[in-house]
Symmetry: C2
Subunit: 153 residues, 2 copies
DNA sequence: GGTCGATAGATGCAAACGCATCTAAATCGG
DNA sequence: CCGATTTAGATGCGTTTGCATCTATCGACC
């Protein structure tokens, strides 16, 4: 396929985004269908995952909201569900009477790890054969740069 | 930031996917908030867009379903809504009594073009400043390669 | 040609979603 | 220090979503 992307900057950006988006859809399709997500919706897993990556273990609800593609109200109720299932804990934020802090329970951490292992295998099975290591590193670099630039403020 | 990605292939693939996914979330956040999507949800726009890109103008429902991250039933009802709004048309497929064909109406095409213009501007404003033209081309190439590899069969 | 599994799409239903709004706490300005 | 604005999160409500299932047609095979 010839590179027809020397057209206009606007067009190049649009095509780049569309390609990124379609790739995300294609991969996500496969991942969602995996048995790892019988127990937990992807958004729910994403919250557990994000909490597991947090150094202090605690995250504010609004911090979580930056990571996940959900409205504030939906995230609020999603966390409520996770709490009912005993996967996360809530505490009023000590320094801000409006806020709440969330962290994984032991059960939540276990479930995240278990699903995470399967999930990582699924990802590797999809992405590994598709791109060389060097290409993956470059894709990682570019998407990280894009995310950082878009997320300013 | 040092490249810690020379670890294992599995880990590299997982980090690459996570970075791609987060970038997608970050960009999508901004795009969804744009005034272009007051009139039409993103999934709905995506269907109109896909139809507008189709050479024959007609698409089967199941072909459409490959492009969009929606279940079959959700897409069925989404198209139903678009039809009620006069944006798409349905016809029984001539060669397959089970299938239906969908295409844009004139109103649908107009709306897609109108939103599309705004949308492309929004994308360019986000992606353009984030990556150089060469980087965008490389990102386009890598995501297209990934999508193609994942979509086989 | 008739039966049988597979495929396309529609539909009932409960769960999840976003928007608008509400309450309460923090921050700002005088 | 007090009223006004902003911010964090919860909640009512109508809409959208996915799962399971249903109907109808297609294709394969005997």
């Amino acid at each position: 396929m010839p590179a027809k992307t020397t057209e206009s900057p606007v067009r190049l950006a649009a095509e780049t985004w569309e390609s990124l988006f379609r790739a995300q859809v294609a991969v996500m399709r496969k991942l969602q269908a995996a048995p790892a997500f019988k127990a937990l919706a992807l958004n729910e897993y994403d919250v557990l995952f994000t909490l597991s990556r947090c150094p202090s273990g605690w995250l504010r609800l609004n911090e979580l909201n930056d990571k996940v593609l959900l409205s504030q109200s939906s995230l609020s109720r999603l966390v409520e569900r996770l709490e009912k299932r005993g996967l996360v804990e809530r505490t009023p934020a000590p320094e801000d009477g409006r806020g709440i802090l969330i962290r994984l329970t032991d059960a939540g951490r276990d479930l995240q790890k278990q699903i995470g292992r399967e999930h990582v295998r699924d990802i590797a099975a999809l992405v590994g054969p598709a791109l060389s290591a060097a290409e993956q590193q470059e894709l990682l670099r570019l998407t990280e740069k894009l995310r950082a630039a878009v997320s300013v403020r």
